[in-house]
Amino acid sequence: MNRKQKKILTRIIISLCLTIVLNIVKTYGVLRFALFLLTYLVIGYDILRKALRGIINGRVFDENFLMAIATVGAFGLAVYSGSGDYNEAVAVMLFYQTGELFQSCAVGKSRKNIASLMDIRPDSVHIEKDGSLVCAEASTIEIGTVITVKPGEKIAIDGVVEEGESSLDTKALTGEAMPVWVKAGDEALSGCINIGSALKIRTTKRFEDSTVSKILELVENASGRKSRAEKFISKFSMVYTPTVCILALCLAVFPPLFMWVFMGVAPWSVWLYRALTFLVISCPCALVISIPLSFFASIGGASREGILIKGSNYIESLSRVGSVAFDKTGTLTKGEFAVKDTVPYNTDKDRLMYFASMAEFSSTHPIAVSILKAYSKKGDISNVKIIEEHGGMGVTAVVDETPCAVGNAKLMEKLGIEIPDISPSLAAVHVAIGGEYAGYILIADEIKENAISMVSALSKLGIKKTAMLTGDNRKTAEEIAKKLGIDTVISELLPSGKVEALEKIMKSTPKNKTTVYAGDGINDAPVLARSDVGIAMGALGSDSAIEAADIVIMDDDPKKIVKAICIARKCMNIVRQNIVFSLFIKFSCLALASVGIADMRLGIFADVGVMVIAVLNSMRALKATRD
């Protein structure tokens, strides 16, 4: 509770005590009036003041005004009738203030809850000064400073490990507790927790530009990007308030007028009271607060899972997803090549691999790397001479005094070596030793473990339209798509063709559903921008990916895409529940108030109670669904 709230609580307690005392101890006449007036003022002085200010500033019909009128009216009635029953006025004011306090605490607490989730960034660091460690504010640290991160501490600023070896917990960034081993020269990102031994890190960025600060900023600003539901509620409450005021006015005037003209009675006070109750119930606060809160909670909950959603509007779009298009390499597949099989001709596997790996030892091409990985025996590199790289085709070298060639079909063609007819479904690296064909090595890009289960999970969610967009050759793409269960494959795409391909998919998606594209962010920027919702995967450490996409998944687990969709749907469900619930209760109570069944106390419940329930419901969005 903050200072303001504590003050009001004190006033509530004081006036409650006073009221109880005044009901036990009998007083009469002017003294009684004065004491009750005092109690009333203790609890209601600020409402009266706000009401007055409201009138001066032209905002006549607000809650404060009607509270003031209702309670002053009640006082007046008690004086007029001589009953001395001033309890009604004080009770109403007391109820109202308690309700408002409840409201304020509920909202404040929810906000704090969500914000504390995001408490992944420390504000101070340790630096060495004159041989001992001192604390310094992270925002003052210049690039190039060496900070010390002790075990158990969070890293505050991005940097490179200068000294020490340890493992880092990336949970705050990716949502997965997968430790990453770092040593001198490795990148250490802010937000990670050092779980091993102390590290000395030389900062490469400033505090406010570091990964964790960027993530926080993104999440904070995300709730500023309004969804359609929020925009509607804003517009709704603009129209709703004057409408309700006019209705209340009619309620206050017409029935008594009617009854006066036709029946000769003038129950003005009864109808005035009903009109005021009507106005109290009608306050749209429940909706106006709970809906943004739901989105805010979803964004916070998602960020804990390593899913950054950049705007409430994307949650909406994601919940209505109809088709999902994927980039292949790096998104569905690991993006690393691996040797699948070796097929030797006129020689044995070992010799084939030996020559291939020796010739490729100095190449950094991913295919060369995979061959080197697969062949565990390290040969003597001094035996390799005259290495020649043939761009786009392969390498030739002299290994152990024997010329050999390692490359694709084009290289073999150039050297005049005949290759067997193999279907080009996998990348084949042909090897020729001593001028003779020695066999081929099949290299494949491995499908990510979770990719297959992701596609089936999507279909369980009702998303049957999946597509793969890739620049890879048709056979490879189709084979992978079949394994995954993806029904549309558009392959051999040039980068520019990807956007067109996506547009075709978007056209075939039903009007009320959205198209989602998931890629690696770096070279998919235009496609990400064109789709309804662009998801960048594996964005940890990649600033450009974070920029380009609407939703950023920090690690590259495809199952997170499913999680993101579930989070979005849950959020929209909660929003819908709140709207239906609030409006239903409000309208029922309004009807009851118009006929006089509801009194002021029910009115306040209809306002505050509904709001508190709606806020509590919104907090459910914090828990990302368990799959």
């Binding site: 200010r53 906000r111 709730s223 804003s234 409450s237 603009m238 606060c285 943004p292």
Partner: protein
């Protein structure tokens, strides 16, 4: 010039009304009030005196919601 301030506003619909009132203030190009984060971002017109504009915004907003408060810069 764009600056973000920490604010205190209790009611969400008031926050909306304040945002609209603030947009009308002289020297203001755009205002975004983030009720959830209790932050207000003001985009000033070129050459505007920021302190004066902020004071004017405060005045306009307190007319709408008397408990509205603006604190020092958040960023």
């Amino acid at each position: 010039m764009e600056k973000t301030y920490k604010i205190e506003v209790d009611c969400a619909s008031c926050a909306n009304l304040c945002e609209q009132a603030a947009k009308k203030v002289d020297g203001v190009c755009d205002v975004r009030i983030n009720f959830m984060m209790q932050k207000m971002t003001v985009v000033f017109e070129d050459g505007a005196n920021e302190d004066k504009v902020v004071k004017a915004i405060l005045k306009a907003c307190t007319k709408v919601e008397s408990d509205f408060e603006i604190y020092a810069e958040a960023l």
